[in-house]
Amino acid sequence: MSQEEQGLPTQDNDVKPEEGNNTINIKVVSSTGEEVFFKIKQSTKLIKLQSAYASKVGKDVNSIRFLYDGVRINDDDTPATLDMEDNDTIDVMVEQVGGTS
């Protein structure tokens, strides 16, 4: 098994990137406990992560909501703007509607 397949940093990732482009690992956890791991740059907009996650799990990105520390993630947010740290978790909530019971 290659280094990359084991989820370990690859040679490319070991190269120190420029300031502001540091990559971090982020875990996205669904409401049923399933986890998907991403490695993204600090400056990458999280909308890309959201789209990639939705595509991966086969859901419409508009039908799920992404929470970081209980706060809804906006399209414009990046790991840097949210002060995210390596191995932080993003929670996925299903969109809800209600009118009566």
Partner: protein, 718 residues
């Protein structure tokens, strides 16, 4: 070429399995390398070489395929921006979506062509119709392999000699997105009292921001009788929370939390997942906060308010649709958290303790939830069912007010950045593109006619005006192009504005008659001019030709044309409304659905029911077949209802079991209602559209103007 990024970089894990860090493909997350990938791509290695498409093909190939179908920015600019006002979105006209009533090949391979595209962008953007979404998905699924096989274009099934570019799929998608948005906002527009509709002039139709992370399209749920979404509930809580923060009485004692609180409570109980969010709540309580109020989503369809009073060591809820012991499971989860977070303290369940309204409808529990919390905090009066509409509008105003503070005028809208190289906002007219479908050819004809005439006479149009009036007259001032185009656009709004008055036939009839009366005299006014009034009466024949052509392109002509269009449409609408069958069975909602989503040539002869044509004889009819048929044949908006039609077969009174008889009955009823109006409107509208698109009205207008001019100058007699 070695495959880049071999191996998956994204993976899923069950909760119990140890996390395996495999990362997403570079291309899916980092668009910066796309141009490099494209540079590495050599078509001769891949296209038409018998290659089979796989997801693990080199990034360069995948990027090249993706870029082939990407929508050009020049086309994207023709669509209304997400922050364009709702009123602008409503004014655009979209090409109809084909359905089974119109024969078209559902075999994806017949749509792909090895020929290069042979039409210009304007041709593509003026297609008379587009295929339905399910078929577009099918085309998208087949596209990658077809592209490897050498496909360079799509066959235009409305014109078999025409080849459409590969980005047509993205174009179809964009149009469908607009369709959905337009339908929702039209519903909201009709729901909104007339005196409040001015709000739509300042409300963007789908801007995303912190106050509307799902986009403002989600607010259509607020300004309609739709169920309230979680995004709206959270925004309500944010508003209440800000009021609590501003009030010194509550600021130090009270917390308002959004839906995230329930989410983390349940997650903790079910998966044992701790979170910083819940830790912060505990810290807040230890710092002196005594009350926590939050919304609770129950049974996947209901909102209620919940309170935890840490000083009284009790919790309870306020359920507008109260049934004893409603949120039992959540209370169990909450108790587990309380026991763990505040050891040694026993909390009492006070049950339905908050003062709340009694819900008699099936729609407004979200409003009652916010009202219950406001009542508990600020003593707000309890909401009655009759006040719900006003409350929804009030909330919309609050949301808009907050959005205005979030989005300062200088701020770049996030969605614009995301979508790419849009021009300046003021350079983009939302309806410009859609008007082009009828006016581009018109414009060409006009300019050609004018140029030909001017070359003949060597007299500029401005000179004509000066000669005629004996004193220099300015050329008609540079018009607000948008205004002209708006006039010319037969807007969805105009078509529908009267339909919400379905409870008052007299009023509707009066309005339409009035509109017709207003429109027709405007058209007649210029055609019945007296010779002395006519501006070209002293001109030579070439000058008259030039003048007539020039006159056609002036504002007056456009206004006339718009008025005639209006009159024509009003007549069609009136004819529809006077159809007793339609009036008996169809309410305004279906009218909307059909006007927005007509079948262009799907005319079924009166008296024939479409049911037998699609029930599959000789094959087993099960639930999925019926659902598919229902989805395919029924308009998406339910008759006599605000809600969108769900394709599912209703089984509630049959004990949850599928009943063919019941499903067939439901399907028949829905389809009959759909078909009746669909046939009435689609046929007439199709004729009208074809008439406009053929350019005959314009030819007739130009010919009339020229002959009128020549006639007045006596050239014909000479």
């Amino acid at each position: 070429m070695a495959p880049a990024n071999s191996g998956d970089r994204v993976t899923t894990n069950s909760n119990k399995a140890p996390p395996r860090q495999i990362f997403p493909r570079r291309s899916s997350m980092e668009g910066a390398s796309e141009s490099e990938d494209l540079a590495d791509f050599d078509p001769s290695d891949w296209i038409g070489q018998g290659k089979v498409w796989r997801d693990d093909l080199p990034a360069a190939v995948r990027t090249a395929c993706k870029s082939e179908r990407a929508l050009p920015s020049s086309v994207r600019r023709r669509f209304p921006m997400p922050h364009a006002p709702v009123s602008e979105l409503l004014s655009i006209r979209l090409p109809p979506i084909l359905d089974d009533a119109v024969p078209f090949s559902r075999r994806a391979s017949s749509w792909f062509s090895l020929d290069p595209p042979n039409c210009v962008e304007d041709d593509v953007c003026s297609l008379p119709s587009i295929p339905p979404l399910d078929f577009v998905r099918e085309l998208e699924a087949s596209f990658s392999q077809a592209w490897l096989n050498g496909t360079q274009s799509f066959v235009d099934h409305t014109n078999p000699n025409r080849r459409l570019p590969l980005w047509i799929l993205a174009y179809f998608r964009e149009v469908m997105t607009l369709y959905t948005a337009q339908r929702k906002w039209v519903e909201s527009h009709l729901w909104m009292p007339e005196e409040e509709r001015y709000l739509f002039d300042n409300l963007s139709w789908n801007t995303k921001h912190a106050g509307a992370p799902d986009g403002q399209l989600d607010w259509t749920r607020l300004v309609s009788d739709a169920w309230i979404s979680g995004g709206i509930i959270d925004e309500m809580m944010r508003d209440i929370s800000s009021r609590v923060s501003d009030d010194p009485t509550f600021a130090s004692t009270t917390m308002i939390r959004p839906l995230a609180f329930q989410f983390y409570i349940e997650k903790l109980a079910v998966y044992g997942t701790t979170s910083k969010y819940m830790d912060k709540v505990v810290v807040e309580v230890k710092n002196g906060k005594t009350r926590l109020l939050f919304p609770l989503h129950y049974n996947s369809n209901h909102w209620m308010a919940f309170i935890i009073d840490f000083s009284k060591r009790a919790f309870g809820f306020g359920d507008s649709y109260y049934r004893t012991g409603n949120p039992k499971r959540f209370i169990r989860y909450l108790t587990q958290w309380l026991v763990a977070a505040f050891p040694g303290i026993a909390f009492t369940n006070l049950d339905d303790v908050l003062a709340h309204s009694i819900q008699t409808d099936f729609l407004h529990c979200g409003l009652y939830t916010a009202n219950t919390i406001e009542k508990a905090l600020f003593g707000t009066s309890l909401l009655t069912e009759n006040e719900c509409k006003a409350a929804r509008i009030q909330w919309l105003k609050k949301f808009m007010s907050r959005a205005a503070t979030i989005l300062s005028p200088d701020e770049t809208f996030p969605i614009i950045e995301e979508m790419g190289d849009f021009g300046a906002v003021e350079d983009i007219s939302a309806d410009a593109y859609f008007v082009q479908r009828t006016s581009m050819s018109t414009g060409d004809i006009l300019s050609l006619t004018a140029r030909a005439a001017l070359n003949d006479s060597e007299v500029a149009p401005t000179t004509c005006l000066q000669v005629n009036n004996e004193s220099p007259q300015p050329v008609p001032p540079a018009r607000d192009e948008k205004e002209v185009k708006k006039k010319r656009t037969i807007s969805a709004l105009d078509r529908l504005s009267d339909d919400d008055r379905e409870n008052s036939d007299d009023e509707r009839g009066h309005t339409k008659r009035k509109r017709t009366r207003e429109a027709v005299p405007r058209a007649q006014k210029t055609t019945e001019r007296q010779p002395d009034d006519f501006p070209g009466s002293h001109l030579s024949a070439p000058q008259a030709l030039a003048h007539a052509s020039h006159h056609v392109v002036t504002e007056e002509y456009l206004a006339e044309k718009a008025a005639e269009d209006e009159a024509e449409l009003a007549e069609i609408e009136e004819r529809l409304q006077n159809n007793p069958d339609a009036k008996a069975t169809v309410s305004g909602r279906m009218l909307i659905a059909n006007l927005l989503n007509p079948a262009p040539t799907g005319h079924t002869p009166p008296g024939t029911t479409p049911i037998p044509t699609f029930l599959t004889h000789g094959k087993p009819v099960n639930r999925s077949v019926m659902v598919e048929q229902r989805t395919r044949h029924c308009a998406k908006t339910r008759v006599h209802s605000e809600a969108e039609r769900k394709p599912e077969i209703h089984v509630d009174y049959l004990g949850g079991k599928f009943s063919l008889n019941h499903a067939a009955h439901q399907l028949k009823e829905s389809v009959e209602q759909s078909e009746l109006l669909r046939n009435d409107t689609a046929f007439q509208k199709g004729r009208y559209r074809r008439w406009i698109a053929s350019g005959r009205p314009l030819e007739w207008q130009i010919g009339r103007k020229i002959s009128l001019t020549l006639g007045k100058t006596g050239c014909l007699q000479k």
